[in-house]
Assembly symmetry: C2
Homo-oligomer: 117 residues x 2
DNA sequence: CAGTTAGTCAACCTAATGGTTTACTTTTTA
DNA sequence: TAAAAAGTAAACCATTAGGTTGACTAACTG
C-alpha cells in the first residue's frame, strides 16, 4: 500500500501524456499566448482546446492572466522542474551509460523533427 | 495541427501518471520482481496489479522474463531516460534559478517521505 | 447600438481507465 | 496424482477523458 501518493505528479504526468498539451507547452515556451492562439494550430474546436488549457492549468503547468476578454497563458516552469526531479532518482540507471545516452539523443532528434512536441 | 505526435511519450507519461505504477517502478529499481511481489504492497487483486504491469510493459518501462509459472519484471531505464530527455528543452527556464531549485528540493523531499513514489 | 470576437459552461457522446470477479492454463509441491 | 500457486484472459462496471455542439457572458469595434 502506498502511504503517500502525489496527486501533483499524477496531474502533471497526466497532463504531459497528451500530444496536444505537450505542443501547447512548447508553444508557450516562446512566450505568453492567448487561448485562441494556443488553439489555432489544432484541428479542434476552441472549447476543446480550452479544456486542454484547463488541464494544463490544473496541473500547475500553466497560469493565466485575464486582460479584457483575452486570457493570456504563461508557462509555469517550476512544475516542470518538479516533474523532472522525479526522474533524478532513476538517473543512476543510465548516467554514464552509452546506450541510455543514445536513447536521449534519439529522443531529442525525434523532438526537433517533430517541431512542436 | 501536430505533424508528428509521439505515441511513445504519450504511453510513458500516461504510465507514470498513476501512483501505483510509479511505486512499482520504484520497487523495480531495487532489482527484478515477480508480478506477485510487485502486487503485494497494494490493496488490489492480483489481476488488477497485473494490468498495471502490462501498462508499464506496454510503455516499454518494464520488460518481462518468464521462468516456469513466474514472470519476473525488470526496469527498463532507457525509456525513462528518453522521457527525461523531453524535459531537457525546458531546462533553460529553470536552470540556474533559485526558485526552481527549491521546487526540485521540495519534490525530492516529498519523494523521500513517500518512500516509494 | 449592433455585430463580432474571446472565452467559458453545460450537456452530450464515445472510448479508455482502473478496478472487480470468475474461469482457465500451467507449473510446482505435498 | 491431487491440490495449490502464478499468472493471464475475459466479462463486467463506474468513472474519467477527449471531443463535439449550442447557449451564454463579456468585451471590443464599426
Amino acid at each position: 500500500m502506498v502511504e503517500y501518493q502525489s496527486p501533483h505528479l499524477d496531474a502533471v504526468f497526466h497532463a504531459l501524456s497528451d500530444p496536444t498539451r505537450r505542443a501547447m507547452l512548447h508553444r508557450l515556451s516562446g512566450g505568453e499566448q492567448s487561448v485562441s492562439q494556443l488553439a489555432q494550430p489544432f484541428d479542434m474546436s476552441l472549447a476543446g482546446a480550452s479544456k486542454h488549457v484547463k488541464v494544463l492549468e490544473g496541473a500547475g503547468l500553466v497560469s493565466r492572466r485575464v486582460d479584457g476578454r483575452t486570457h493570456y497563458c504563461r508557462l509555469e516552469a517550476a512544475r516542470l522542474a518538479e516533474a523532472q526531479a522525479w526522474f533524478r532518482y532513476y538517473e543512476r540507471f543510465w548516467s554514464n551509460r552509452l546506450d541510455a545516452l543514445q536513447a536521449i539523443l534519439e529522443a531529442e532528434d525525434r523532438e526537433s523533427s517533430a517541431g512542436r512536441d
